[in-house]
Point group: C2
Amino acid sequence: MPVKAGERLDPEATRARILKAASEVFMQRGIHATGINEVAEAAGASKLTIYKNFGSKDGLVEAVLTDRTQRVRAWHEQAVEQAATGRERILAIFDLVASWYAEAGFRGCAMMNAATEDRGHDGAPRRLAQDHLAFYRGLFQRLLTEAGVRDPETTARQLVIVLEGATIISAVDRDPGLGAEARVIVETLLDAA
Amino acid sequence: MPVKAGERLDPEATRARILKAASEVFMQRGIHATGINEVAEAAGASKLTIYKNFGSKDGLVEAVLTDRTQRVRAWHEQAVEQAATGRERILAIFDLVASWYAEAGFRGCAMMNAATEDRGHDGAPRRLAQDHLAFYRGLFQRLLTEAGVRDPETTARQLVIVLEGATIISAVDRDPGLGAEARVIVETLLDAA
DNA sequence: GATAGATAGTACCGATCGGTCTTATCTCTC
DNA sequence: GAGAGATAAGACCGATCGGTACTATCTATC
């Protein structure tokens, strides 16, 4: 049948529903391992609607990753704003990711995972992953400058290394404790900076 | 034709040749994206020989990763033995990985990449990746104990985070400078430990 | 209420994948 | 030199994939 009986006809909501379902199934099973039919079933949408909205699987992947990085950035900006000092603001980022590690079904960073799956290509996944890393570098550098650190650029790069290292190990080992461990490293690096 | 004319008939060498070719093509293009036919062509072997030796693609993947983790461990043990003090030995590990980051076509850690591609399954890739992380933890803990660090277990976990973070960022950004950056972090952590 | 757009469901297509099988030809061992 | 094992080359199979086409039916708009 067409349009589930009694439901509103809302293209925006349909697109958002597909994005959410695709994001979840891509994260849990991997992008390459997930077929469009699975996305359609998970989203309660038809393949026609998916291709009307995103053109191709690559287009869907790019849209999912773009949506994801934007949401993650917004969450970080929000968490930072709710903390007081420069140092507290930096630690707030690691408290936020620690809460992600503790979520059921945590599978790492969507952008790094996609870039890893798509290695060998220089397409959207790798570009978006690089942009995502650059966002972290910029955010840390801004906060470190506010905190009066001597070399914000260098320390920012160090914090990104710690963040991504904790993320991938947490995903592989299914260990939510990496959030606390990363925080300890960050405090040491901030003390030394 | 059969057996390339004039070549020795050496099953061990054939198996090793397939492992090497599969390892390279898997790393460059991704495991999921690489078909058995591509492995066969890269190895100069037939599909029959591959399936005789490894049973299935999963078997080949497991053999490649097992071979890889063993080689990496041996290289690390060797690099460690050639350095003098406990601290120098730890830094020797990061000098070794820094040289990997600088290699053309560096694509990250084979075990982490495979586990990421295969997320959603609890098969050999994830198990071997966990074993690989455990090896690093054990090696660092041993060296930190030799160096007289107060809490070798905690510091070892910190060093693994730095190592894996630098590795994935180097792979995504194609930036060999991550090796030097990781070394600086490690020195800071060792000074504080 | 007529028209247009959005959508579900499903069949379908060509390509590719993992895996099997056959054939022929090489090397090695006795 | 005869038999056994190893190997290359490639045809083949069923399943699945990304993507398209078609039909039917819903909602939104005028």
